[in-house]
Amino acid sequence: MKKMEKFGFVISKGRQIDYESNDRRIAEYIYKREPSFRLCIECGGCSATCTTGNFTGFSLRELHILIKRGENDKARHDIKKCMLCGKCTLVCPRGVNTRNIVVLARQAFQNYDNYAI
C-alpha cells in the first residue's frame, strides 16, 4: 500500500455516513431553541459574505450540514472562529437566525462537554 502512495495514489477516506456513531444531540439542542435552523436551504449565502471566511476556510453552511448530520468533531472547533458580526443573518434568503444558531451551538458544545446534555 505504501508503494502505491508513492506513485501518487491515495486511498480516500470512507464517505458513508455512519448513523451509529453520529450524535445528533447538538442539532436537537439547536432545533429546540431556534426553530429557524430547519429553514436553511444550504444556499451558501452566509459563507459567501462571512467576515471570518475571508481569512480562513470557515463556512457556516458546512457547519450547518455537519451539525445536522451529527458529525460534531469538526464543528466543535470551527464554531469558535465566528465573530458574530451578523452579516450572514442579513443576507440569508430564508430568514434563518444564524447568529443565534452559532451562539446556541457554542453553548451546546459547552454543555455537552460538561455532561449537561
Binding site: 429557524s36 470557515f58 469558535k80 465566528c82 458574530l84 458580526c85 443565534n100 457554542r106
Partner: protein, 633 residues
Amino acid sequence: MQFDPFVIPFNIGLYFILFYVVIRSVIWFRGLSRQDKLRLQRGFFGIAFVQSLKEIFLESLIHRKILKTNFRLGYMHMSLAFGWFLLILFGTIEADMFGAKHLNAPYRAIFFRFFNPEHGRMGIEAAYGFLMDLILAFILSGLLLAVSKRFWSKIVGMKKTARLKVTDKIALTSLWLIFPSRLLAESFTSGTYGTGSFLTGSLGHWMASFLPVQELAYPFWCLYSLSLGTFFILLPLTRYMHIPTELFLIFMRNSGIRTGDKAGSYSEVETYSCSSCGICIDACQLNFSTGINNVQSVYLMKAIRNNDNVADIAHNCLMCGRCDQKCPVGIELSPIRMIQRRGSEAENDIRNIYKGYFRSIQKTEIDKPNGFAVYNFLPEIKTEKADVLFFAGCMTHLTPSIKKAMVKILDASGVNYRFIDEHGGVCCGRPLMLAGQDKEARELINYNSQMIWRSGAHTLVTSCPICYKVFNESYHLDAVVLHHTQFIKNLIDNGAVKMKFLRKRVVYHTPCELGRGSGVYDEPKAVLKHVARLEKSKFEDQNSLCCGGSLANMKISYREKSRIACDAAAELTKGKPDILATACPLCKKTFSQATETRVADISEIVAEALMSSTTPKVISKQFYSIKELADIS
C-alpha cells in the same frame, strides 16, 4: 391616654424597617469599590449632598419627570408620595404642638386623633384639622386613581401596567388599606366626639346617624396600625423597597458613581430602586410592535431581585435604549442588561438569602471545557501611514452604495486617507459584546487597535454607528473617532467640499447606537439641512425608534424584526417624504425592505449633492489642528 396595645404592629413594623434600611445601607456602602467610597465621602461634604436633597424633593416626592411625561400617572404617584410625606410631617408637628408634651414617640403622631379625640374643635386647632383633612383627601384621590389603574390601566394613560408577584400583591393591598382605614377610623372617632373637619367630621357625623360609631372606631384603628405594620415588614421583599433605596441611589448618582460593566453595589441599588411603574413597557417597541410583553426592563429588574434565571429576558432586547431615556428614576437600564448578558462569564454568584431580605455574593470560577473562541487565524497586520483612516465595518460592506459614497466624499475632500478594511476587515467586536462575550471581543479589539495605532492616524472615520460606539467606549486610541456624519459636517464647516442643494424632502431616522448610544444628534441633521429639506417626524432625537434590525436581539425571529421595521418605517414616512435618511448601514438595510420610500444613508445623499470639482482641493495639515480635534472630542 398614653399608650394602647393596638399600636404594637405599627411600632414593630416601623422599628424593623428603620433598622433594616440602616443595615442594608451599610452593606451597600461596604460593597462599593474604593474609588466609589471616596466619591461618596466627597459627595457627602460637597455640593452633591445639596443637589441630592433637591432631586429627592423633586423626583421622589413630586415625581416631576413622570408629571412631565404623563400628568395623570404623575399625579397618582405624587399624591401618594408627597401626600404621605406631608401627612407625616404635619402630623408630627400637630402632635408636637397640641399634644400633652413635646418630642413624642412616632405612634402618637400617626394615631393623634385616637389619643386626642377632643382635639380640633375651634380656632387654630380646627384650621389645622382642616389642613390634615385636605392632605388626606389629596392622598385618597391618588389612591382612587391607583386602584382603578390596577383594573383599567388606560385611566392614567398607560397601555400596559406591570404584573405583580404575590408578596407585591399583599403589600399593595396593605398599602391600599392604610389610607381608607385611617379615614374611617378618624371619621368614627370624630363622629363619636363631634369633632373633625370637612372630610372626617362630616363623614363621621353622617355615619353616626345610622352606625354604632363608638364601637366601630377601635377595630378600624387596629386595621390602620396593622396595615402599616404589614406594609413595613413586607417592604424589603417587594417593589416598595424603591422608597428607601431611591434616596440612596440619587445621592450615589450625584456623587458621580456610575454602573460600569460589573455587577456591584450600585447596580444592586439601581435594581432595588425600580418602582415597577411600567413606563418602560409602553416605551418598548417589542411590546407595541410584536406583542412581546414579558422582557421589558421592569421585568428584568424584578427577575434580578427575585434571583430568577434572567438569561432569556436579558438577551431578548433590541438594546435601543428607549426605556433608558424614559425611566423616571434614572436607572441605567442598558448597562445593567449588559451585565446580565455577561452573566455566564460573571465572577460573582449573587443569591438571595434570609427569605430574600439579604443577598449573598460568592466568587465563582468560569468553567468552559470547550474553551473560548479563538481568532488566531487573523492575518498579520500590515500598515501604511495615513492621516485619516476610514473603517467601513461589516455592515457597510453589505451596503456597497454607502461604501462607494464614502470613497467619493473622501476623495473629493482631498484628505490623506486610507481605507483600512477595503478588502474585508475584522469585526469591531461590538456584536460579540452584545452577545455577552466580552473576552472574545477583547481579542478583536486588540487586533484592530494595533492596526490603528501603527498607522499613526490622527482621525478614524467610521460609517457604522455600531463600530463608532465600540471605538469610542472600549478602544483606547490616540486617534479621534468620528462617525462619517461628523466628518462630513467638519468638511462642510471648513469649506473643503462644495455641494448643491437637492430639492428633496428628507426625514431623518436617528440610529439607536449613534443617538441614544453615543449622543450624536445634531451633526447628521446639520448635514442634511445643508443639502436637502429636512422635515420633522414625531420620533426625534431621544424619542427615535429602533429599526428592528439591531444585532443585540438574537431571540426574536425574522418576522418579528420586520414587523418592528414596518411599524417604525410607517411612522417615519407619514409625511410622505422623498427620502428616509439614516446614518447607519444596518438601519438602511432593514428599512429598505420595510417601506416603499427611498431609504438612503446620509453619505449617499451627500455624495449625490457633491459638486464634481476637477481638481480636488489639497488641504494642509492645519485643517485638523490640535485645537479643532479637542473641540470635536
